[in-house]
Amino acid sequence: MALSLPDVMVTRLDQLANWVRKNSLWPMPFATACCGIELMATGASRHDIARFGAEAMRFSPRQCDLMIVAGRVVMKMLPVLQRIWLQMPEPKWCISMGACASSGGVFDTYAVVQGIDRFIPVDVYVPGCPPRPEQLLQSVLDLQEKIRRTGTLTGREFAQRREYEGPRLVPAPDSARIVAPGDFRSATRQWDQNA
């Protein structure tokens, strides 16, 4: 409907829609680890995410437009995460909160996904282990700025981004594999000479 209007009118409508959307983000708290505690603290009265209009946390993805992935995601949880992401209606955004969600963090093991951006799109990354509530609030502000700049009424900004934006997946060579140490007293890790 909006596409049949003159361009100037569409631009104004885009701005209006962006202004409405950015000040009323409904987060989907995908909290799997200790970052979830900081996420709760951000929602509580002291830090009060309601000051930025993102206090309406809903535990149904159908009602949300901002997914906050707080904590490490293991390979058994990733299909769940992808399914929940697909269940969220457009327009939707994603904040990767903390080192584990962004890169796997210290959990460089067989079961932990090394950053959710390898498999779902991410808009804002929050560093920290876990991040302070102020950092999460700043990421919400940054996301609001991003929505203000790039958002369109019809969601064209998503359709334009067809390329995969995450890191390139490089299969690890056999020499990069880490195995258990031969001597527990002298080392905690040892490069595998046999592989």
């Binding site: 990733l78 992808q82 697909l86 067989y110 334009q160 981004r161 390329e163 299969p171 031969g182 890790r189």
Partner: protein
């Protein structure tokens, strides 16, 4: 009943060469061979009153200094009437990684044996439902074995990629 009595009755039952005992402070340990472990545990439960299986776990001794066997299977028992604790251990080697399930003795062994199977690939014969408990069903390796690489064999990268346009 003292630990010496328990050890004596067990040696009578299984043969003295089949039970090795050791002690460190208040930690009493028995090592029995694989084919006698069920008999030993049944005897300990029925006769000596070790009615609670505290833990059942396994150890991989690959690359371990001076180790002769590949896997060690550890049963931690508790007598809830007297408070006595006992650790029973048995050793397994490939390719015979099967051991009788102790599920008929302690129902709590159900998930513990499933976890040991999941992580080490040790098969418990007679277990009612020996499936993976922690890892996905499609997982093929046994990741707590020491010859399994810490970063896996690419299982964590094996997912479809959702892009912005299609989601």
């Amino acid at each position: 009943m003292s630990y010496e009595t328990i050890l004596c009755t067990l040696r009578e039952r299984l043969g003295p060469e089949n039970v090795t005992a050791s002690q460190f402070r208040d930690n009493y340990r028995l090592v029995v061979p694989r084919h006698l472990v069920y008999e030993a545990l049944a005897c300990l439960k029925e006769r000596d009153g070790f009615d609670m299986l505290i833990d059942l776990t396994a150890v991989d001794y690959l690359h371990y200094p001076n180790a002769r066997d590949r896997f060690g299977l550890v049963y931690c028992l508790l007598n809830t009437a007297t408070g006595q604790r006992l650790i029973v251990k048995t050793f397994l080697n490939e390719p015979e990684l099967t051991v009788p399930s102790v599920w008929p003795l302690w129902k709590g062994a159900d998930w513990l044996e499933r976890e040991v199977y999941d992580m080490f690939g040790i098969v418990f014969e007679g277990h009612p439902d020996l499936r993976r408990i922690l890892l996905p069903e499609a997982f093929t390796a046994f990741p707590l074995r020491k010859d399994y690489p810490l970063r896996g064999r690419g299982e964590r990268h094996n997912f479809p990629i959702l892009t912005r346009a299609e989601s």
